[in-house]
Each structure stands twice: as C-alpha cells, then as structure tokens.
C-alpha cells in the first residue's frame, strides 16, 4: 500500500490514506508532490539525510575508540592481535560482494528486468546471512570460548596490557554488535524488497524503495569497512 520509501521504520505505520492524485501509468504519488519522479527524488534525499545521522552515530563510537586507543595503545594492540584475521577478511570480501550484487540489482531494475533483480537481491541476502553466520555463529562464539568478553574474570591477558586489551574488546563487542544489528535491519528490508519485487510492485518507472534500501545496505557495508581495519589491521601494523 505504500508508494514512497521513507526512512526505515516509518514503514511500519499504517497510514490513513491521504487524498492522492492518480497520474496514469499505474504510478501514483502522494498529494503534496507534483509528480512521481519528484516524490522519488525527495524520498532518496531523505534516505541520504538518515544516513548522515548514522554517520554521526557510528562516528561517536569510532572517535571514542581512537581516543581511548591513544591512551593505552599497547593494550589495545595486544587485544587486537587476538582477533580472527581470516574470518574478518573473509567477511569483508563477503560484504563487498553482497553490495555488488545489490548494485547489480539496481542496474537491472532501471532496465525493468524484474526477474534478474530478484536473483541479485537474493544473492545479496544470502551473502548478508553468511556474514552474520561467520561473525556471530563462529567468531563471537570463539571469542566467548576464549574468555575475551571484557568483563570475563578469566580474561586471558594479564599484566600491563590487561586494561587496554579489555577496553579493546569493549569496543570490539559494541562495534560489531551494533553493526550486526544494522545488518539484521538491512536483511529484513532486503527481504521486504524481494517480496515486493516478486509481487510485481516495481518497474522501470517506479522503484524508489529498491534504491533507498540499496543505499542503506551499502552504508552498512561502509561501516564494516571502517570497523575492519580498526579491529583486525591497526593492532597488527
């Protein structure tokens, strides 16, 4: 029933249908806009602005991370060397490929090829799930098994590096946890888009939600590309 993508979340609210114009070709638009194209551009602008707030959200975390690392560098780096570089790097490759698959889907929807769109989005979804499985099914499980949770009494590192290493794992768990939550939201959104593609909601003329969710999906990818060096690379340098 919804024709316009707005920031995620608002979609949950059922709306009492506002008066609308019909505008031919099956594409409708909300009554405050002059035409569907103008509404679509506006919705995308809203998504960009939403991503700006997300940048500040993760920015606060990452800035704190860098600031605290500056205070106890040796401990942070000792902690970072215990992370699973192979899983992290594999996951990075998976996410980049997933974003690529989604971007391919956007190219196809612009050409009106809805059959291929569904395949691309399904690939993006599968890769996203693979990321979560590796990250939380494997890596986090290992981390807990190695007592790396920062408040664990049998935390493996002792001596002068202990405090810093614990802090590193505070940021590690918060950073990857928040990123994982964003992935979950993204996966729900991609599922929703796939369902609507199958229902035939989108066409060459109207596919705003596909693009909006694509922006979000790529943003979550970019967050990971910021976390990846902070977690796996900087401490090994």
């Amino acid at each position: 029933m919804s024709d316009v993508a707005v920031a995620p979340g608002s979609l949950a609210v059922a709306a009492a249908a506002p008066p609308r114009h019909g505008s031919g070709a099956g594409v409708r638009h909300d009554f405050q806009y002059r035409d569907p194209a103008y509404q679509s551009e506006t919705a995308i602008a809203g998504m960009w602005l939403f991503l700006a707030t997300e940048v500040l959200f993760f920015g606060g975390l990452i800035l704190s991370w860098i600031y605290m690392r500056h205070g106890s560098r040796a401990g942070f780096d000792a902690g970072a060397r215990r992370t699973e570089l192979v899983i992290g790097t594999t996951n990075t490759a998976i996410l980049i490929t997933s974003s690529f698959a989604y971007a391919l889907g956007v190219i196809f929807i612009r050409a009106g090829d809805t059959r291929r769109v569904a395949k691309c989005l399904a690939a993006a979804l599968a890769l996203g799930l693979a990321f979560l499985a590796l990250k939380f099914g494997l890596e986090w499980r290992d981390d807990f098994a190695h007592h790396l949770f920062p408040s664990d009494p049998s935390f493996p590192m002792r001596g002068s590096a202990e405090a810093g290493a614990r802090l590193f794992y505070v940021f590690y768990f918060i950073g990857t946890g928040l990123h994982g939550l964003h992935m979950l939201v993204g996966i729900a959104l991609v599922c929703w888009i796939i369902a609507r593609v199958r229902r035939g909601d989108f066409s060459r003329d109207y596919h705003t939600p596909v693009i909006a969710v694509g922006l979000y999906w790529s943003f979550v990818d970019i967050v990971w590309l910021t976390l990846y060096p902070l977690i796996y690379l900087v401490g090994r340098g």
């Binding site: 106890s72 560098r73 040796a74 001596g159 002068s160 405090a163 810093g164």
Partner: protein
C-alpha cells in the same frame, strides 16, 4: 541576609574586579536595550500618529557597526578572563602541598606531617597552598566561594587547585559536582589560621609519623623495591625505571613524548602503568588499581617524591 562575599584569598579581589567589569558592561548593554525598547514602543505605538518619515532600508552599515562593537568588547573580556584563569591555574613551585581525597560524601584531608581531618581544611594565612585532589568513587568538585576557586575532583587521577589565603577566618567548602544522595551534605569548612595558631594546630593533631614515613612502610609492604629498588648500574632480574631523583624530572616515553614526573604521573604509573611507559623499558608492571587505596597511593607518592640519588629507596 548577607549580599557580599568575603575576599579571603589573593585570587578573590582579582576575580571580583573581572566580575564588576562584567556587571558594568552587562548593565550598560541592558540599559541600552531596554531604553531603546521602551523608547520605540512608546514613540512608535500604532496610535501615536507620529510622522515616521523615510524608513531606513539600508542596514549593512548599522549591522557592521554593532557586530564590530560586540566583537571588540567580547574579545576584551575573553583576554581578561583567559589571562586571569591561566595565572590562577599555575601553582607557585614553593606551594605547601595538602592532599585531599573525596568520597561519597565526605572530604578527607591529609597534611604532610600526617595530620588528618574530615570535612575541614586548616591552612595558614599568607602561604601558597596547593591542594592535590583525587576521588575514591565518582566525580566531586571542591569549591571555596570565599576564595573564588573551584575544581573537579576525579577518580583515578590527581587534579590540583591552589590559593593563598589572606584573611584568617572560617569559610564554606562545598562539593559542587553532583555526586549522589548526600551531595548537599558534602560540605565542610576552611579554617584560615595565623601561622603561630597553625603551628599549634599541627602540633596538637600530630600523627604517628608523617605521610612520607607511612609511604615508606607501604613501599616495603608491597615490595616495590623488588623491581624499583635497584640503583642504576647494578644487575637485577627485573629491570624497572629507578625512582631516585625521579620526581620533577622529565621522563622520555616509548612513544617519543616527554612528560614531567609530577604527582599525576606517579599516581597513574601505579594504577595504569601501561599508559605511559618509560622509553627503553618493557611494559611489564601490572596495574595496582583496586589493590592499593587512594589514601595509600598518596602516601606512596609523597614517599617517592622524597627519593633522590643521595637518598635512594
């Protein structure tokens, strides 16, 4: 009701001068704004029938004028306030050190001679005093309105605040950073005494050994000398930076920076040794945070301050 505040320290009249200047400027600005407001409101009320003549539509000259004037006044105030702040922040090197430990909800004070008091601070008149302050729990703030000074007291680090009292008497001491349930009862008094009375007070409250002596006992108790006790040049299984003559000297760190070995540095080196590692040494010292209380760290620090090549641990 008393509307004046005693100027009981050297800093007080200086801050008051700035405050009077601010009051004068504020009064002038407010007088101007309120005068114009009333003038226009009365003169140009809709029913006044006054001929308005030409209305000035060119605004940028006026805008530039009042923006410039505002900037100039603000800049003057900034310089005055910042200069005074910087001067009042630097304790003179010969200041008498008194140690203050804040905890929910009391002030504990330790004098160099081992005298201790709670929620009271006895100081001599006319002597620069430096309060070296830390907290055992949350953030507190030590404020003495009669001296016009105040500073936050943080857990796990030393902050310093200094003054030179100039008027014997008893003054309020407040905690001014909200610190929980009995914040408003975390008050005390500063008693400024004439030097002979202060000497008498010290004598009457003399403790079993000064801070330094108690610190030495702790130094032995915690086995600090096992690593730090070695004088330079001699062999030892564990190599740790020597402490003799350390206090006040510059220390090169592994990251290439240089810090001065002040109270803060000594304190942090005990509770968070990995933060500032001395160049050429491995970061092997464990943290003693939570194992040595703030009061004992204080004693250790004041003991380490007395060490010199002539007087090694």
């Amino acid at each position: 009701m008393r509307l004046s505040l005693p100027q009981a320290a050297d800093s007080a009249p200086e801050v008051d001068h700035l405050l009077w200047a601010l009051l004068a400027i504020s009064a002038a600005v407010l007088a101007l704004v309120f005068f114009l407001l009333f003038l226009y409101v009365v003169r140009y009320r809709a029913t006044s029938g006054l001929d308005r003549g030409e209305v000035n539509e060119k605004t940028w000259r006026l805008e530039a004028a009042w923006t410039g004037a505002t900037l100039a006044v603000f800049f003057g105030l900034f310089v005055w306030g910042a200069d005074l702040y910087l001067r009042l922040s630097q304790a003179p090197p010969d200041a008498l050190k008194i140690y203050v430990i804040a905890k929910q909800w009391m002030w504990k004070v330790e004098h160099d001679g081992g005298q201790r008091e709670i929620n009271a601070l006895h100081v001599p008149v006319g002597t620069p005093i430096e309060l070296v302050m830390t907290s055992e729990d949350v953030i507190h703030d030590l404020s003495i309105p009669a001296f016009r000074i105040k500073h936050d007291v943080l857990p796990d680090r030393y902050e310093s605040l200094w003054f030179k009292a100039r008027e014997p008497g008893t003054y309020h001491l407040f905690c001014t950073q909200f610190c929980g349930l009995d914040h408003s009862r975390m008050t005390g008094e500063v008693v400024v005494l004439k030097p002979p009375e202060y000497a008498r007070w010290l004598a009457q409250n003399g403790a079993a050994g000064g801070l330094e002596e108690q610190g030495r006992a702790l130094f032995v108790h915690f086995g600090c000398g096992g690593c730090h006790g070695v004088t330079p040049g001699t062999e030892s299984t564990v190599r740790a930076p020597p402490l003799a003559g350390l206090y006040g000297s510059p220390v090169p760190l592994t990251d290439g920076t240089l810090v001065r070995a002040d109270e803060r540095y000594l304190h942090d080196s005990i509770v968070a040794p990995e933060r500032e590692v001395v160049a050429g040494y491995a970061p092997i010292m464990p943290s003693y945070a939570g194992q040595i209380g703030e009061e004992d760290i204080l004693k250790l620090v004041s003991y380490i301050e007395t060490l010199s090549p002539e007087r090694p641990p």
